[in-house]
């Protein structure tokens, strides 16, 4: 195999293996910076040896064994250092561990280690940006450069962010462990938030042509699927996976030939990816079967599923969607959820009923700079034949959006109103 091919193979192996490698190493060294360095060392050895010896039959096990040896060396060095310290009359740290224990520790099932790695990457001592960057780097195997491209940030900024995050975790002695039972719900919700944020980031308002952005959607989906296997008893994990699978199923239908956004009701449903829909509905069923109270991801997934199951927009079960949005509004009250509930109410019970809810939101002013509010209001007014008012709302919506294509769409609607 030519050297360049070998290097690309090694890169692929690295992508597949690095999270498990780092997670396994974390168990002994308990420091993200060191664990990552040791994993990188193993990669360097592979880059030196594999072009000569060929790729081993089980490259993952090879990398792990090599990293293990490095870990043991590291440990021995530290022990010697600690002994020296002891000789100098200092106290020996409690962390001392016999080498054989390290080896057996590394041979244990890595599933729990991966989950611990997810929890530590999304730890609340870190800022959201740091959580996202660390998760993509450690769990997604993305390079700093790729993360920077995806978030349109300078590479040095992202690199700094990652270095600082690792330092913070180390300085605050954040343990590499499963959250305590009483913390689990909050910690899990911070993990799910990070994954969903990565997914949402996959849609770009400014640089949709950048291939890294769709790659973020895929990475978030993959992380979600991994979480579902690691924490199968958590209904919200399945809810999030279902939500992402179903939303991703529409990606082909969401954009028109010249890059313009296509609204849900105008989408060609034949373009929806049925494989992803099936997976999404299966994930939803898995979450629902767990039988506890629905969380916000499950509720959102149920809403998404209502659309996914419907062959034509006209068959949409609007009363059911109203019901789900009402449940969501109770669980996680937000003006944006309320706006969506208003749309559903408008479809289920007529535009006047919807407008009543929208007007309450307009009076509330929280959403006064949110372009979808006048956009929805314009739609309802138009249905009520209050054309002039509708026209003003569409123009207002157009002035509030930062997305050029969306603005064009809204101005078109304003013009259509004026002409009609």
């Amino acid at each position: 195999m030519p050297a360049t091919d070998i290097h690309r193979t090694i890169e692929a192996v690295w992508r597949i293996e690095s999270p498990r490698l780092i997670a396994g190493l974390m168990r002994i060294v308990r420091d993200l910076g060191i664990a990552e360095d040791l994993a990188q060392d193993a990669l360097v050895v592979a880059l030196e040896q594999w072009p000569k010896s060929g790729v081993p039959d089980n490259p993952g096990a090879w990398l792990m064994a090599t990293a293990k040896h490095r870990a043991i060396d590291h440990f021995r060095r530290n022990t010697r250092l600690e002994r020296k310290h002891e000789e100098l009359g200092r106290e020996l740290g409690e962390k001392e561990m016999a080498v054989p224990d390290l080896i057996s520790a590394l041979d244990d099932d890595v599933g729990d280690d991966l989950l611990r790695l997810v929890f530590i990457s999304c730890h609340p001592v870190l800022s959201t940006e740091a959580q996202v960057a660390l998760t993509l780097r450690l769990l997604g195997g993305l390079t700093t450069g790729e993360i920077a491209r995806a978030f349109l940030a300078p590479e040095t900024t992202v690199a700094q962010r990652i270095v600082r995050a690792k330092r913070t975790l180390s300085e605050k002695h954040v343990p590499f462990e499963m959250p305590r039972r009483e913390d689990l719900a909050a910690r899990l919700s911070s993990v799910l938030k990070v994954v969903y944020l990565i997914f949402n980031e996959g849609y770009s308002t400014t640089s949709g042509s950048d291939w890294m952005r769709p790659a973020l959607c895929e990475e978030a989906l993959r992380l979600g699927r991994v979480l579902a296997e690691l924490a199968p008893q958590e209904p919200e994990v399945h809810g999030l996976v279902a939500l992402m699978e179903i939303q991703a199923s529409r990606s082909r239908a969401r954009v028109g030939p010249s890059g313009e956004p296509v609204l849900l009701f105008d989408q060609d449903r034949a373009l929806w990816d049925q494989l992803l829909i099936r997976r999404g509905l299966a994930a939803l069923a898995r979450g629902e079967r767990l039988g506890v109270a629905r969380g916000s991801y499950l509720l959102q997934a149920q809403i998404a599923a209502c659309h996914a199951r419907t062959r034509t927009p006209q068959e949409t079960d609007w009363p059911r969607i109203v019901e789900l949005y009402s449940a969501l509004a109770q669980l996680a009250p937000s003006p944006v959820v309320e706006l969506n509930r208003a749309v559903a109410v408008g479809m289920a019970f007529g535009p006047a009923a919807g407008l009543e809810l929208v007007d309450a939101l307009t009076a509330d002013r929280t959403l006064e700079n949110y372009h979808l509010l006048p956009s929805v209001r314009g739609d309802l007014l138009k249905k009520l034949s209050r054309i002039e008012e509708a026209c003003i709302e569409f123009e207002r919506a157009a002035s509030l959006t930062n997305n050029a294509r969306e603005r064009t769409l809204l101005l078109d609607r304003a013009r259509a109103c004026a002409a009609g």
Binding site: Y203, W211, P214, C217, Q247, L275, Y325
Partner: protein, 135 residues
């Protein structure tokens, strides 16, 4: 990027050894845990299948088995992976299991990218998808 793996081999090699089935199940489990495998399936004997052929402006149905075929499709799997190299690596692992657990077996796994949208998929995920701006 989505890849289809198509496994081809001669028919009538007898049932695969249990050890291979177990190893494949384990590999599949790992792929599911890694979040990369979207779906898979094994195909039944060609004796229970048929070919629908368009030739010479005529559509004809030819019942199985496909005795003249040197290789038949035995199964497939769909993966979501970052590169062709990753796809090849997955296929290599799959074939290595055959080498280890089924001496003498020969066949191939064809690795093919699947068509996605022409434009990069704008994967817009709005939590609030009903609002008018929703894609």
């Amino acid at each position: 990027m989505r890849y289809m793996m198509i496994v081809k081999h001669a028919e009538d090699k007898g049932p695969p050894p249990q050890a291979l089935m177990d190893a494949i199940a384990k590999l599949g489990e790992e792929a599911a845990k890694a979040g990369t495998m979207l779906g898979q399936g094994g195909l039944g004997p060609t004796a229970q299948g048929a070919r629908v052929v368009l030739s010479g402006n005529r559509v004809t149905v030819v019942d199985g088995p496909f005795t003249e075929a040197k290789e038949i499709i035995g199964g497939y799997a769909q993966f979501e992976l970052k590169s062709k190299e990753e796809a090849i690596e997955s296929a290599v692992r799959f074939m290595e299991l055959h080498r280890k657990h089924w001496p003498g077996w020969e066949g191939e796994t064809e690795v093919r990218p699947m068509f996605g949208p022409e434009d990069p998929p704008a994967c817009r995920a709005t939590t609030h998808e009903l609002a008018v701006g929703v894609k």
